[in-house]
Amino acid sequence: MKRDTQAAVSRPLRRAIWNWIDLFPDEFNEALRSRGRMEGAPERTFDLLYTQQPGAEKALWPTLTILNCISSERLGSDFQINHFGSGHFGGHKGSHRKVCRPTLYCLTLTELLSDIQEHQFIENLIKNANTASKFSEIAMVCVLDMCRVAFHIRPGGDVPLRLIGSDIAHEIKVCLFCVSPEYCGLS
């Protein structure tokens, strides 16, 4: 897909996904808690839209974020935010996945790579939201979106996104209250 096409498709796609979450809360909760409900479609769309090349971050990042949030199979519980403000996924990726999916899944190399891609994307988001970069505002919109999705998940059960959401909420508070001295004219 060309970059312009990706950008044109991704904005309405994000709203379509939110429409679903708003209209059918039961389906959404069920899809997050059980494997395979979405038939792998969010994951494959993520791979289609994800690109390392710069240019369309503003249009693509929010959609990639929401696609990531409804991909229950890839967003693992091993995500942690460290005290330096950047997120990382603990543990060795391959070994963790093997523990998580005993004999159910035969991991192909491409699947492993895209797992890493998705984790890299979230790490990048949190890094950009925390630091003064030119993408910090759009990254902040994305992490707020993640919190918003986490708020839509019913309590109870083990849904990794809820834990991630509360971690991210903490990060957002830090960003809000630690205004850099330049803003106050104290530099």
Partner: protein, 167 residues
């Protein structure tokens, strides 16, 4: 909770005006205030996908889950005159009501709406124009989505563009 907070179009940069109140049907449900697990729109009127007489397979998609009617759609809304003075707010206003029409169209005639979206994605994937027409994609934003429809749309993305992937 204010509808401005939940608005997806918020730019997060400045004050946002709320021209038409946006009602989020599942908001009470998500606030975890209910003790029963009933759907938030169980008491409201619903739309079903109906097969028309002259199409053979139009009921092939999922018809088991009823789509809730969009709330407030039968109320009379008086357009405030200040909205008419600015073309931006007027466009938003028209878009909102056109969106309600598309919502109800897509709820009862999903296949027609989906074909429109899919053919546009196909066209965009293969076109070499500099500024192709992307207005049809906006239909996605206003469609009444359930899980099977969303999966259809997502699959339409990567099946439509599989052969033209260039970056």
């Amino acid at each position: 909770m204010s509808s401005a907070i939940l608005s997806l179009d918020s730019s997060f940069y400045d004050f946002e005006s709320v021209d038409v109140p946006t009602y989020v049907p599942a908001l009470d449900y998500y606030c975890h205030e209910e003790t029963t697990s009933s759907t938030p729109h169980s008491a409201e009127a619903t739309l079903h996908s109906k097969s028309s007489t002259n199409t053979v397979n139009s009921d092939a998609s999922n018809i088991s889950v009823p789509i809730p009617m969009m709330p407030l759609s039968f109320n009379f809304d008086k357009t405030h005159m200040s909205l008419v003075r600015s073309s931006l707010s007027l466009n938003n206003h028209i878009g909102k009501y056109a969106g309600r029409i598309i919502y109800h169209l897509s709820a009862s005639n999903w296949l027609v709406v989906f074909q429109r979206i899919r053919s546009r994605v196909h066209l965009l994937s293969s076109t070499s124009e500099d500024r192709p027409d992307t207005v049809d994609l906006q239909i996605m934003s206003y469609s009444a989505m359930d899980r099977s429809r969303l999966v259809q749309v997502l699959q339409g993305m990567f099946f439509g563009s599989k052969h033209f992937c260039c970056c």
